[in-house]
């Protein structure tokens, strides 16, 4: 079983699983439990400036999107940054770092966009012995109304400016946490890099309204019959996070900028995907908030065995391995051809493949044969779209077969696996370059 030790921008941790800045890392009690459970590091819940503490709502602050059997698919919150006094947090951070020297302890910060505010808090954090800073430019609710969080993250100039201050007034490594509530994630990431950031972390939560209560006709979570948009996270956001992480990983201007990935990481498989798409480690929140800290056991064991299976020497060895497989649409091979195929020995004859293809796609699956209930792909109609595969309830019953050295019955074209054709050179493309 491979060791999962990682070194992320100089911060060492026994594994790449950190708890993200959020309720699970708000105080020593929780963080102690997390480290006892085996988490590699934590990003302490965001600290604000000294003074009267933050006030949270006393109504519900979380709401979930449930799947079958009430599993939590998506999760949203309207909680603000820590509502405990700054000095209490700093004291606890100091003690925790003393008690757990081998774990990563990064402190998340969010103070007003003024140089003095940052200049004042940075040395206090440095005094705790913490390993690094994470700048919270991501929270989309509440604090953003006060000009902080996502309000900063959405303006690349502000991102760069504040990052510069932090690098100027602190010796600690700086991770800039990005908001996904932007048109392109590359702009704020590049700004962080020009400001001297050591790394970026993403994604923070996504603007969301979870649901409307159909009895009261008001939005949920409801605070005295009113609600506000919150930050969305959990398994449902993983594909969005994967896109943004990988988009930075392949951005030429962001080359060399380490990424700490956040967004729906629930198990070792999710973590492996983020690592393969360029993340140096991962941060977890919702999965812990819905199952407790013990889930890290499976993450550690699963990822370690995966390294063994794939022959990777270390976590670092696998980072970014899948990035080269991501490209623009125009570079996809248009000669590559697949057809759906049904394993009749596994088919339970539910007909879902037929009806979705018939009603919404390419009319390529017949429902009867000799008057019997029998589902079969008609290769002369099948475009290989994968819809039938996604709705088939039986694993491996419907699969895609790639054509090789044969004629595509639909187009009549001969499929030569050695001859790729990209849009950039396609005859139908008026801009094609031969």
């Amino acid at each position: 079983m491979k060791d999962l030790k990682t070194n992320f921008i100089g911060i060492e941790s026994p594994n790449p699983f950190w708890l993200a800045s959020a309720p699970p890392t708000d105080k020593a009690y929780n963080v102690n439990r997390a480290f006892e459970a085996g988490w590699g590091g934590v990003v302490w819940k965001t600290l604000g400036e000294a003074g009267p503490p933050i006030v949270n709502v006393s109504g519900p602050r979380y709401e979930a999107l449930h799947g079958r059997d009430r599993s939590v698919i998506g999760f949203n919150n309207i909680e603000l940054i820590t509502d405990r006094p700054l000095e209490v947090n700093l004291e606890e951070i100091k003690q925790i770092k003393r008690d757990w020297p081998d774990r990563a302890l990064v402190v998340s910060l969010m103070v007003p966009c003024q140089e003095d505010a940052w200049k004042s808090i940075l040395p206090q954090v440095e005094d705790t012995g913490a390993d690094g800073l994470e700048l919270n430019f991501g929270c989309p609710h509440g604090m953003s109304e006060r000009g902080m969080g996502a309000a900063v993250g959405q303006v690349p100039e502000y991102v760069e400016m504040v990052t510069t201050w932090c690098k100027q007034y602190s010796r600690l490594p700086v991770i800039v946490k990005l908001t996904p509530n932007v048109t392109s994630i590359r702009q704020p990431a590049r700004a962080a890099k020009s400001g001297g950031a050591d790394a970026v972390s993403l994604i923070n939560t996504i603007n969301s309204v979870m649901s409307v209560d159909l009895d009261s006709l008001s939005i949920k979570p409801s605070i005295d019959n009113m609600g506000t948009h919150g930050g969305y996270c959990g398994p449902a956001v993983k594909p969005i996070a994967l896109h943004m992480v990988s988009d930075l990983a392949r951005d030429p201007e962001c080359q060399g900028l380490p990424i700490s990935a956040i967004g729906g990481v629930s198990n070792w498989r999710d973590a492996a995907e983020f690592l393969l798409l360029g993340a140096g480690n991962v941060q977890v929140c919702t999965a812990a908030m819905t199952h407790g800290f013990k889930i890290v056991d499976d993450m550690i064991d699963g990822l370690s065995r995966f390294l063994d299976d794939k022959g990777f020497l270390s976590v670092t060895d696998m980072v970014g391995r899948a990035v080269p497989t991501l490209t623009d649409w125009q570079h996809l091979n248009l000669n590559y051809t697949v057809k759906a195929q049904i394993d009749q020995s596994l088919c339970i004859k539910c007909g879902r493949c037929h009806i979705v293809c018939e009603d919404t796609s390419h009319q390529a699956i017949r429902a009867t044969h000799n008057g019997e209930r029998h589902y079969e792909v008609m290769e002369d109609e099948c475009v290989g779209c994968n819809l039938c595969v996604t709705v088939c309830p039986v694993e491996n019953c419907l699969t895609l077969r790639s054509l090789s050295n044969e004629v595509d019955a639909r187009t009549g074209a001969y499929v030569d696996p050695d001859k790729a054709l990209h849009w950039t050179a396609h005859p139908n493309n008026p801009m094609a370059q031969s």
Partner: protein, 449 residues
Amino acid sequence: MELIATAHNGTPGIAAERLTEEECARNFCEMHVPLERNAARVEAERCYFCFDAPCMEACPTGIDIPGFIRMIANGNPTGAAGLILNENILGGTCARACPVETLCEGVCVRNQGDDRPVNIGLLQRYAVDKAMQQGAEFFTRAEASGKSVGVVGAGPAGLACAHRLAVLGHNVVIYEARPKSGGLNEYGLAAYKMLNEFAQREIGLVLSVGGIEIKHDAALGKDITLAQLQSQHDAVFLGVGLGGGSGLGIPNEDAEGVMDAVTFIDALRQAPKLSAVPVGRQVVVIGGGMTAIDAAVQARLLGAEDVTLVYRRGPDAMKASILEQEFAKIRGVTIRYWAQPVGVAVESGRASGVEFETTSGAAAGERFVLSADMVLKAIGQSPHESPHGDGPAFDLAGGRFVVNDERQTSRQGVWAGGDCVDGGDDLTVSAVQDGKIAANAIHNALKAP
């Protein structure tokens, strides 16, 4: 289910109160525990929502099963009940009494592989029960047609026919020979399938549409004649069911202690107190259908010490499904296959046992005697001697009406359905379909110029 209470030290012969009323009530608990809201939602989500769903094809009434299950999954059980009742107004009884393992659930695609089918029966029950609790109304009558239809028999076929006709705007009078409506739903199904007066509550649902009058104690051929009905009504539907149980044709079958299983079940269903129903200590049931199973199981539940069901062929040939057979075995009924009765043994004028002959295998022809103080005959019901009363002749096959696809008899203006027609299969759900088809046919005939 709890272990059933069984009498010990049982009085020989046929006796009431082998168990206390409390023990009886516990024994006659729900055969299947109904689903509560969350369990129903989880079960509903197991449905694959098949294209051209096999379950739907297997349902004699053609209920849109994936459609109603989807409504349950999405928190709309009332809509689900609407879909069900629109095709099968007795969907509540069918959800309880249908042999789903041989119909809808038997063909569920989830049976393939190692899976179990979606529990369609319980889901249907959940939706209909919920809607009935809420008093939801699903039907509005069409504009009054001014036509009147006489329906003979307030069993499943008659009720379904009457309901559909009423919805279509016709007035209906049902003539029922017995003092209560429901036919076999009221008199013939096992008590543990129809708890809390369900048959009567469901009839309330049928009648709530309006336009249906029921005259009880009005037997065709005795209190009324077909000629009278035809003169009073624009059309007539006969849903008269079958007569008494068939005879075994063996010596001493009239001895005291021998009775039809349907009579036993009828008495049990109508008893104000279950513990007051007399039952033997040693009971032998002869037959292989659901009535045989229902009679055998209920004899056990009333406290009979020893109940043996004897069938002349093997388990697969039995009309009662394998599941029903297992159900009976779990409740302590012994099932003996491959034996047929040859005579009832009598002591002091009372049945003391039944002699059987083995019908198959190396021991074929061998005889043996099972002691019994009660013998229940469940080899099917015979048609009424004259199913149409004393009126003119009809085309009959084996005493049952010959009907066309529209359920019209050989006689102009007379339709028939349920067990009394040739090809009937003893199922409530099929009787409902007959009534529905006949009602549509009658409607078309009545509106024709």
